[in-house]
Structures are given as structure tokens and as C-alpha cells.
Amino acid sequence: MAVDLKLRNSFGNVSIILMDDHLVELEHSYTSDRVRRIRYDRVESVVRWRVLPLGRMAIVGLLVAVPGLLMMFSSEQVFVTMGTAFLTIAACIEAIYIYAGKTHISIMRAGREFKLAGVVRPHKVDRLLNRMEADIRRTQEEATPSTSDESIELESTSESTESDTASPHIS
């Protein structure tokens, strides 16, 4: 599996990849991606909610449903058929929007908020968040003993802190 979640929103396409101890957010453009990494070590909370993508629904309504409806009033059989087709397409798209909804994910890390949003099917978000939750808990549990055993592992702690700061993770 290549990318864990693809989000499409009005600002562009975003892909999310779960690595071992961090999440990678890729903002796609033509020949390069902007990369943001969110390390799990200091993640405080992950909040997820869903709303209706009203903006998109309105656009589909205006561009597809309204013309379709207008065509229905025509006396020509061709237009009535086209109108029916338009309305069916619009109804299908709106149904998908209502079913999927626009998912928002907000990740708090070290007092800063990272937001993700897009229209995705809920079960994909469920799968992503389940894996992410497990990864965050594991990362934080693994890191806990080395920070509380100050006296014994001073050497190794300083090393790990250094390597931690050497690869900047503030994004």
C-alpha cells in the first residue's frame, strides 16, 4: 500500500503516509510535494469530526442539478432525457457527499495544532486513525522508560536528545 489516505479539498490534494514514529503529510503540486512531518512523541490529542461538505454540494447543485431541472421543463424529448440524466448524476454525487461527509482531523502536538480536512469515505479514516493511535501509543510508551531512568541512562538520553534535535521535527 502506497499512501494511507488521500484527501481532496479545494486547496489541492493531500496525501497522508504513516511511518513508524511519525506521520507525513504531502501537499502535492506538479513536480514536487511539500512535506510536513508530525512526530508522535509529543502528540497530545487527536480530534476527528465530520460535517456536510456544503460548499461542494452547492457547486454540484448549481452546475449539474439546476441545469438538469431547467431542461426538464423543455418540450423537446432530447432535453427531457438529458435533464433526467443530469438530475440522476447530481443525486448520485450529492448522495456520496452526504454519505462520506467532510472529515476534519486535528492533531495537537506540543501545543500546536495540525489540521487535515477533506472528503473521504469514513471507513478509510477509521482505518487510518486506528493505526495512527496504535503507533502513537507505542511510540510514547517506548520513549517513556528512557526519560524516567535519568541516573542510569544519562549517556544514552543525551545521545537520543541530540539525534532528536539534529533532525528537526517542528513543522
Binding site: 513536480t31 509529543r42 490529542s45 495537537m108 500546536r112 544519562l154
Partner: protein, 210 residues
């Protein structure tokens, strides 16, 4: 040996008031009727420890008075110790600065851009089929194709060395792109040979009628 802090609250995304997390993940804001799921974790405090102890005549770290200063933070101008300093693009910042005032500015600077040669290959392939560019620049075609091959090799190299690229560009994708580029290269070769034969024919016919 204190346990890591447990986060028990969060800010309601709807109305920004502080809320407590209940027993269940599903939460509802009593103020604005926002509903969603909340997961809370045990964040690890950034532990700053170790570093070189400062001698009496050494300059000391502004955040750790007992540690010797090794650098000057480019954001604040403070003396900082080895553990506080974060190197970025030839400049040294203090961890403290990056976590506070510099969080936004430095945060942007730390955003990395990932080159996507795989997508550039697709771009070059498409360029081959844009008529205008190629009518004027018939020479353009071999340029796009060879650039495409170069980018494809780069994509292959990156997908082997960079774990992130490995997730984005799998071996099948490389093979598919190679096939596509191969077809385009072949098209170009066949087209060139055909054109040459055609020109040669036209030329010899013109020669004969003279």
C-alpha cells in the same frame, strides 16, 4: 520518576472552549453542539539533559546556566548549549526559540519539498504529445524523452534510498513508466525513420523529374 502527563482536555473545534474528555471517545460540546471523537495521549516532554558542563570562565547556555554555550541562536541571539542548538540550513536555532516565537517562521523553513521525478516523467511524456511544442520544436521530442529517462532513473534511485519515496513510488510504477517511456521513444524512432524515408523519396523523385 513521575508518570508522563496525561492529557485530559482539548479545545472544542466549534467554539474553542476548553472541554474535558469523558469516558468514551465520542464527545459532544455542551456549548455549541459540536460532535466528534477525541483521542488523548501521554506526550513525552522534550528532555534536555547532558551537554558540556560550563567552567567558570565559559559563556553559559541561557536556558541551562550550568552548560557551556556552544552556539548563538539565529532567532534570539542567545548563547545556547549543544543540546539546545538545532542546525538548519547552516543556521543554528535554539530549541526554545523554535518551540515559541520561531515556531511559525522556522516551521515554514523546516517544511521540506520533496522532488517528484516520477511525476516529472509523466509531464515530459505529455509534452511529447502537445502538437504546438513539437511542430515548432521537432527537436523537442528527443529532449523530452531523454529528460524523461533521466528523471525515471532518478525516481528509481530515490525510491531505493528514501523511505518516503519508496512508499510513494513502487517498483511497479517505475516499470510502468519505463514501458510508457519506451513506447514513446520507439514512436519517435519509427517516426524519424519514416520521415527520413519520406524525405529521401521526395528528394529522389524531384531529382528524377529534373
Amino acid at each position: 520518576m513521575s508518570d508522563p502527563p496525561t492529557i485530559t482536555g482539548f479545545r472544542c473545534p466549534g467554539c474553542k472552549i476548553g472541554l474535558e474528555v469523558g469516558d468514551s471517545e465520542r464527545t459532544r460540546c455542551p456549548n455549541c453542539a459540536w460532535r466528534g471523537t477525541v483521542m488523548t495521549f501521554h506526550p513525552i516532554d522534550l528532555k534536555i539533559d547532558g551537554g558540556q558542563a560550563a567552567l567558570s570562565d565559559d559563556a553559559a547556555c541561557v536556558h541551562h546556566p550550568s552548560k557551556r554555550a556552544e552556539a548563538i541562536c539565529a532567532g534570539t541571539g542567545d548563547y545556547i548549549c549543544a543540546l539546545c542548538s538545532i542546525d538548519h540550513g547552516g543556521q543554528v536555532f535554539s530549541a526554545e526559540y523554535l518551540n515559541t516565537a520561531g515556531a511559525n517562521t522556522a516551521g515554514k523553513a523546516f517544511d521540506r519539498t520533496l522532488d517528484r521525478p516520477d511525476r516529472t516523467v509523466r509531464f515530459y511524456i505529455i509534452l511529447c504529445f502537445i502538437p504546438y511544442i513539437n511542430v515548432i520544436w521537432y527537436v523537442g521530442w528527443p529532449v523530452w524523452v531523454s529528460l524523461g529517462w533521466m528523471k525515471l532513473l532518478k525516481a528509481r534511485r530515490l525510491s531505493k534510498s528514501d523511505p518516503l519515496m519508496a512508499r510513494l513510488v513502487g517498483p511497479t510504477q517505475i516499470v510502468l513508466l519505463a514501458i510508457l517511456l519506451g513506447v514513446v521513444s520507439l514512436l519517435f524512432l519509427v517516426g524519424s525513420i519514416y520521415l527520413m524515408l519520406f524525405l529521401f523519396d521526395a528528394w529522389s523523385e524531384g531529382f528524377a523529374s529534373d
